[in-house]
């Protein structure tokens, strides 16, 4: 699910671990509605919540959350620095 340039695989990661939304919410210390809102793309989580979710799922944060591909990458924005 994608929202505001943020893509997430939370539902897939959760399903891989056979967790319900309520289970994950309990592990992350939020309500099930927050987990549902993130999965359905209605909410972009804070960094703190994203870290809690990644810890609860035992995976890295960029496995769950990633930027949409149409956003420019670092190498496309910055020019290489010339050292004299």
């Amino acid at each position: 699910m994608s929202n505001d340039g943020l893509r997430n695989t939370l539902k897939v990661q959760r399903a891989m671990r056979d967790l319900t939304q309520a289970d994950l919410a309990e592990l992350a210390g939020v309500t099930r509605r927050s987990v549902n809102a993130i999965e359905t793309g209605h909410m972009v989580p804070s960094v703190l919540l994203a870290l809690k979710l990644s810890r609860a799922l035992g995976t890295s944060i960029d496995t769950i959350f990633s930027l949409d591909d149409d956003l420019p990458r670092h190498s496309e924005i910055l020019q290489p620095v010339q050292v004299r």
Binding site: L19, T20, Q21, A22, D23, A25, E26, G29, V30, T31, R32, R33, S34, N36, A37, E39, T40, H42, M43, P45, S46, L49
Partner: protein, 157 residues
């Protein structure tokens, strides 16, 4: 994974939502009574005093009933992890922030229409009517919008 804790958390969440509905109703009723008092100060006093007392009693009974029906004997302990999860919930805070922004704009834009509405009243009553209308409108918009934004999403497991 235990089933009891999510159920309790869900119960606390439902209780919190229902409290907001009760607060919305109370806000509208009290706001309407105060407005009636500002607009019809001669006709109102007796039934308003009685009505005000009744509202207090009804609100206390209603909130007590709401608590016992929704929590079903579970204590509302602010330090418990489930209550903390509900109170610090990010979806809840996000919706409250959104609702606050909209309520602020609504209150600001409503000032001139309200002023026109109360222009015919004596200055003291007009000031009171304007204050009550602004408060009621702001609070009612905030709570109603918060409840609307917090409604259950479709994709739920």
């Amino acid at each position: 994974m235990s089933e009891s804790i999510p159920t309790r958390s869900e119960r606390y969440l439902r209780y919190s939502q229902r409290n907001m509905v009760a607060l919305l109703v109370l806000t509208v009723v009290v706001g309407a009574l105060c407005l009636a008092m500002a607009f019809r100060v001669d006709a109102a006093p007796r039934w308003l005093v009685q009505g005000g007392a009744l509202i207090g009693v009804a609100a206390a009974i209603g909130l007590g009933a709401l608590k016992s029906v929704t929590l079903r004997g579970t204590r509302w302990d602010p330090k418990s992890p489930e209550v903390q999860a509900v109170m610090r919930d990010e979806w809840r805070r996000t919706n409250m922030d959104r609702a606050m922004r909209v309520a602020f704009v609504v209150v600001l834009t409503a000032q001139i229409p309200i002023a026109l509405l109360v222009a015919s009243l004596p200055s003291l009553r007009a000031t009171m009517a304007m204050a009550v209308t602004t408060l009621t409108l702001g609070l009612a918009t905030l709570i109603a919008l918060y409840l609307f934004l917090s409604r259950q999403q479709k994709d739920v497991e």
